[in-house]
Amino acid sequence: MLRRTVLVTQAPYDQQGARHALEYSRASLATQPASVACIFFYQQGVYNANQLLSPPTDEFNLYQQWCDLHKEFGVRLLVCITASIRRGIISASEANSQNLSQFSLAEPFEQVGLGEFFTLLHDTDRLVQF
């Protein structure tokens, strides 16, 4: 079985790539659970992890879809901590340590270093970037 890592570098709504990444991951995992080792969000892709995303109810809710994907298949949603914090995508604990009163990132998304991605990459056959 080919193990893939999905790298998302595009923002939700304003760009298409993130949605494609979701659909690709879903298709892969539906066929073979565990075929996607993790989904890593970098560059503008970190905006996918913003829990405050609130599209109109008749529009596609990408944030919810990511959460559902994790719930259904257990695939890890990893967000580059440096890239996300500088863009205001920040967990409660990180916000706390920076004396920020609000936070925007929560489970199932995890804020990790790039090292986590590259460590997982050692056990991956294919890196697919959207």
């Binding site: 790298l7 570098t9 970098y42 560059q43 503008q44 440096t82 890239a83 270093g113 790039l114 090292g115 991605f117 590259f118 460590t119 990459l121 050692h122 991956t124 294919r126 890196l127 970037q129």
Partner: protein, 117 residues
């Protein structure tokens, strides 16, 4: 360990591609992978000497000069892009190898992964 080609396709400053692309490359070697830089299109402008970024912005040229210190030793430049942007030898001060399209495609074929910034 994977051989990762990192395509740099944007000019520095005015966007996050150049700086974060390099962060990505340096993290790759830090965690046991091989990172190769390939400059294409307007990305070749990252190699231009004499950059003066705004205060608070990292100097992309200086970072690229220091790339070997981060174990990023293979740097390639698309010769057509270099010519299109009229980069002279004086301006191209980073240690790199110019490649034509055939060689460029071969580089991509030989890589384990390709990431584009």
């Amino acid at each position: 360990m994977a051989r990762i080609i990192i395509r740099m396709t944007h000019a520095p400053y005015g966007n996050a591609f150049a700086a974060e692309g390099l962060d990505f490359a340096f993290a790759a070697t830090n965690y046991g992978h091989e990172a190769v830089l390939l400059f294409e299109g307007e990305g070749v402008l990252q190699l231009k000497a004499g950059q003066q970024p705004l205060p608070g912005e990292k100097n992309q040229f200086k970072r690229l000069k220091a790339a070997p210190l981060f174990d990023v030793e293979e740097i390639y430049v698309c010769v057509e892009s270099r010519n299109a942007w009229e980069l002279s030898d004086q301006e191209l001060q980073v240690d790199c190898q110019c490649v034509n399209t055939t060689a460029l495609l071969q580089l991509l074929r030989n890589a384990d992964h390709v990431v584009t910034f």
